[in-house]
Protein backbone atom coordinates (compact mmCIF):
# COMPACT_ATOMS: atom_id res chain seq x y z
CA UNK A 1 0.00 0.00 0.00
CA UNK A 2 1.49 3.29 -1.05
CA UNK A 3 1.74 6.32 1.17
CA UNK A 4 -1.10 8.18 -0.52
CA UNK A 5 -3.63 5.37 -0.29
CA UNK A 6 -2.70 5.04 3.38
CA UNK A 7 -3.42 8.75 3.69
CA UNK A 8 -6.80 8.14 2.05
CA UNK A 9 -7.65 5.53 4.70
CA UNK A 10 -6.43 7.81 7.50
CA UNK A 11 -8.65 10.59 6.20
CA UNK A 12 -11.67 8.28 6.13
CA UNK A 13 -11.10 7.51 9.83
CA UNK A 14 -12.10 11.09 10.71
CA UNK A 15 -15.64 10.62 9.37
CA UNK A 16 -16.92 8.46 12.30
CA UNK A 17 -16.12 11.32 14.73
CA UNK A 18 -18.30 13.68 12.71
CA UNK A 19 -21.03 11.04 12.38
CA UNK A 20 -21.01 10.68 16.17
CA UNK A 21 -21.80 14.40 16.48
CA UNK A 22 -24.37 14.14 13.68
CA UNK A 23 -26.22 11.36 15.51
CA UNK A 24 -25.81 12.53 19.11
CA UNK A 25 -25.67 16.36 18.84
CA UNK A 26 -28.08 17.81 21.40
CA UNK A 27 -29.32 20.62 19.14
CA UNK A 28 -30.00 20.81 15.42
CA UNK A 29 -27.08 23.23 15.02
CA UNK A 30 -24.72 20.58 16.45
CA UNK A 31 -25.88 18.16 13.79
CA UNK A 32 -25.25 20.77 11.10
CA UNK A 33 -21.70 21.21 12.45
CA UNK A 34 -21.17 17.46 12.12
CA UNK A 35 -22.56 17.49 8.58
CA UNK A 36 -20.32 20.42 7.70
CA UNK A 37 -17.25 18.53 8.89
CA UNK A 38 -18.29 15.47 6.87
CA UNK A 39 -18.49 17.55 3.69
CA UNK A 40 -15.14 19.20 4.48
CA UNK A 41 -13.56 15.76 4.80
CA UNK A 42 -15.28 14.70 1.56
CA UNK A 43 -13.74 17.68 -0.26
CA UNK A 44 -10.35 16.66 1.11
CA UNK A 45 -10.98 13.04 0.05
CA UNK A 46 -11.85 14.09 -3.50
CA UNK A 47 -8.71 16.25 -3.70
CA UNK A 48 -6.57 13.45 -2.28
CA UNK A 49 -8.05 10.97 -4.72
CA UNK A 50 -6.95 13.30 -7.50
CA UNK A 51 -3.42 12.64 -6.21
CA UNK A 52 -3.86 8.87 -5.80
CA UNK A 53 -5.47 8.20 -9.18
CA UNK A 54 -3.41 10.71 -11.17
CA UNK A 55 -6.67 12.02 -12.64
CA UNK A 56 -6.95 15.76 -12.07
CA UNK A 57 -10.66 15.77 -12.99
CA UNK A 58 -11.44 14.79 -9.38
CA UNK A 59 -10.57 18.36 -8.41
CA UNK A 60 -13.80 19.46 -10.08
CA UNK A 61 -15.66 17.10 -7.78
CA UNK A 62 -13.99 18.83 -4.82
CA UNK A 63 -15.00 22.28 -6.10
CA UNK A 64 -18.62 21.28 -6.67
CA UNK A 65 -18.80 19.62 -3.26
CA UNK A 66 -17.40 22.73 -1.52
CA UNK A 67 -20.00 24.90 -3.28
CA UNK A 68 -22.79 22.57 -2.30
CA UNK A 69 -21.61 22.41 1.34
CA UNK A 70 -21.61 26.19 1.64
CA UNK A 71 -25.16 26.51 0.29
CA UNK A 72 -26.39 23.64 2.48
CA UNK A 73 -24.94 25.19 5.64
CA UNK A 74 -26.40 28.62 4.83
CA UNK A 75 -29.80 27.11 4.09
CA UNK A 76 -29.85 25.09 7.30
CA UNK A 77 -28.71 28.15 9.30
CA UNK A 78 -31.59 30.18 7.89
CA UNK A 79 -33.96 27.35 8.69
CA UNK A 80 -32.72 27.16 12.31
CA UNK A 81 -33.02 30.92 12.72
CA UNK A 82 -36.53 31.29 11.33
CA UNK A 83 -38.09 28.12 12.63
CA UNK A 84 -38.58 29.65 16.12
CA UNK A 85 -40.76 32.49 14.84
CA UNK A 86 -43.73 30.26 14.20
CA UNK A 87 -43.88 29.27 17.86
CA UNK A 88 -42.53 25.78 17.13
Amino acid sequence: MSFLSGALVALMLTIPFAVYRLVKGPSLADRVVGLDLITSVSVALAALYALVSGESAFLDVAIALALFAFLATLGLARYIEHRGEKGE
Partner: protein
Protein backbone atom coordinates in the same frame (compact mmCIF):
# COMPACT_ATOMS: atom_id res chain seq x y z
CA UNK B 1 12.34 16.37 -3.14
CA UNK B 2 9.03 17.56 -4.52
CA UNK B 3 7.44 14.32 -3.40
CA UNK B 4 8.54 15.01 0.16
CA UNK B 5 6.85 18.42 0.03
CA UNK B 6 3.63 16.80 -1.21
CA UNK B 7 3.78 14.14 1.52
CA UNK B 8 4.42 16.75 4.21
CA UNK B 9 1.45 18.84 3.03
CA UNK B 10 -0.82 15.78 2.93
CA UNK B 11 0.31 14.77 6.44
CA UNK B 12 -0.36 18.29 7.71
CA UNK B 13 -3.81 18.33 6.13
CA UNK B 14 -4.74 14.99 7.66
CA UNK B 15 -3.40 16.11 11.05
CA UNK B 16 -5.58 19.24 11.07
CA UNK B 17 -8.66 17.35 9.89
CA UNK B 18 -8.08 14.90 12.74
CA UNK B 19 -7.82 17.82 15.17
CA UNK B 20 -11.15 19.12 13.85
CA UNK B 21 -12.75 15.68 14.17
CA UNK B 22 -11.53 15.18 17.74
CA UNK B 23 -12.59 18.72 18.63
CA UNK B 24 -16.10 18.16 17.33
CA UNK B 25 -16.47 15.19 19.66
CA UNK B 26 -14.63 16.46 22.75
CA UNK B 27 -15.56 20.15 22.95
CA UNK B 28 -18.17 21.05 25.57
CA UNK B 29 -20.68 23.16 23.61
CA UNK B 30 -21.74 24.13 20.10
CA UNK B 31 -19.65 27.30 19.88
CA UNK B 32 -16.45 25.51 20.86
CA UNK B 33 -17.21 22.76 18.36
CA UNK B 34 -17.70 25.30 15.57
CA UNK B 35 -14.38 26.84 16.56
CA UNK B 36 -12.73 23.45 15.96
CA UNK B 37 -14.41 22.59 12.66
CA UNK B 38 -14.35 25.96 10.93
CA UNK B 39 -10.68 26.76 11.59
CA UNK B 40 -8.87 23.42 11.76
CA UNK B 41 -11.13 21.93 9.07
CA UNK B 42 -10.49 24.78 6.64
CA UNK B 43 -6.74 24.57 7.22
CA UNK B 44 -6.73 20.80 6.70
CA UNK B 45 -8.64 20.96 3.41
CA UNK B 46 -6.50 23.89 2.29
CA UNK B 47 -3.22 22.04 2.89
CA UNK B 48 -4.43 19.05 0.88
CA UNK B 49 -5.49 21.31 -2.01
CA UNK B 50 -2.06 22.98 -1.98
CA UNK B 51 -0.52 19.48 -2.07
CA UNK B 52 -2.53 18.74 -5.25
CA UNK B 53 -1.33 22.00 -6.82
CA UNK B 54 2.30 21.18 -5.99
CA UNK B 55 2.03 17.57 -7.16
CA UNK B 56 0.72 18.23 -10.69
CA UNK B 57 2.79 21.32 -11.54
CA UNK B 58 0.40 22.27 -14.32
CA UNK B 59 -1.17 25.67 -14.62
CA UNK B 60 -4.71 24.39 -15.21
CA UNK B 61 -4.64 22.03 -12.20
CA UNK B 62 -2.99 24.59 -9.93
CA UNK B 63 -5.55 27.21 -10.95
CA UNK B 64 -8.42 24.87 -10.12
CA UNK B 65 -6.90 23.78 -6.81
CA UNK B 66 -6.11 27.31 -5.70
CA UNK B 67 -9.52 28.63 -6.76
CA UNK B 68 -11.14 25.86 -4.72
CA UNK B 69 -8.89 26.87 -1.82
CA UNK B 70 -9.84 30.54 -2.20
CA UNK B 71 -13.53 29.61 -2.32
CA UNK B 72 -13.28 27.53 0.86
CA UNK B 73 -11.29 30.18 2.73
CA UNK B 74 -13.84 32.83 1.74
CA UNK B 75 -17.01 30.86 2.48
CA UNK B 76 -16.14 28.89 5.64
CA UNK B 77 -16.23 31.96 7.94
CA UNK B 78 -19.51 33.12 6.39
CA UNK B 79 -21.15 29.74 6.93
CA UNK B 80 -19.79 29.49 10.48
CA UNK B 81 -21.02 32.98 11.32
CA UNK B 82 -24.50 32.30 9.93
CA UNK B 83 -24.75 29.03 11.82
CA UNK B 84 -23.46 30.48 15.09
CA UNK B 85 -25.87 33.40 14.90
CA UNK B 86 -28.78 31.12 14.11
CA UNK B 87 -27.87 28.84 17.01
CA UNK B 88 -27.56 31.78 19.43
CA UNK B 89 -30.90 33.21 18.39
CA UNK B 90 -32.64 29.84 18.57
CA UNK B 91 -31.53 29.54 22.19
CA UNK B 92 -28.55 27.15 22.20
CA UNK B 93 -26.83 27.84 25.52
CA UNK B 94 -23.04 28.09 25.94
CA UNK B 95 -21.45 25.63 28.36
CA UNK B 96 -21.40 26.27 32.12
CA UNK B 97 -17.80 27.48 32.24
CA UNK B 98 -18.57 30.37 29.87
CA UNK B 99 -18.54 33.59 31.86
CA UNK B 100 -18.55 36.28 29.17
CA UNK B 101 -21.60 36.53 26.91
CA UNK B 102 -21.37 39.89 25.20
CA UNK B 103 -24.53 39.36 23.17
CA UNK B 104 -26.67 38.81 26.27
CA UNK B 105 -29.50 41.33 26.38
CA UNK B 106 -28.79 42.78 22.95
CA UNK B 107 -31.36 40.80 21.03
CA UNK B 108 -35.11 41.18 21.25
CA UNK B 109 -37.50 38.32 20.81
CA UNK B 110 -38.02 39.34 17.15
CA UNK B 111 -34.34 38.55 16.35
CA UNK B 112 -33.45 42.19 15.76
CA UNK B 113 -30.29 43.61 17.24
CA UNK B 114 -31.19 46.11 19.96
CA UNK B 115 -28.69 48.75 18.81
CA UNK B 116 -29.71 48.45 15.17
CA UNK B 117 -33.33 48.97 16.09
CA UNK B 118 -32.95 52.63 17.07
CA UNK B 119 -31.85 53.76 13.61
CA UNK B 120 -34.77 52.06 11.92
CA UNK B 121 -37.55 53.93 13.72
CA UNK B 122 -40.05 55.41 11.34
CA UNK B 123 -39.83 59.20 11.17
CA UNK B 124 -42.80 60.95 12.77
CA UNK B 125 -45.53 61.61 10.24
CA UNK B 126 -45.53 65.18 8.99
CA UNK B 127 -48.80 66.97 9.44
CA UNK B 128 -50.40 67.82 6.12
CA UNK B 129 -50.98 71.49 5.58
Amino acid sequence: MLELVVYALVCGGIFFLFVAAIGVVRMPDLYNRMHATSKAGTLGVGLILVAVAVFYQELSVAARALSALAFIVLTAPVAAHALGRAAYLSGVKPCDTTYVDELAGHYRANHRLESAQTGLEEPPAKPLD
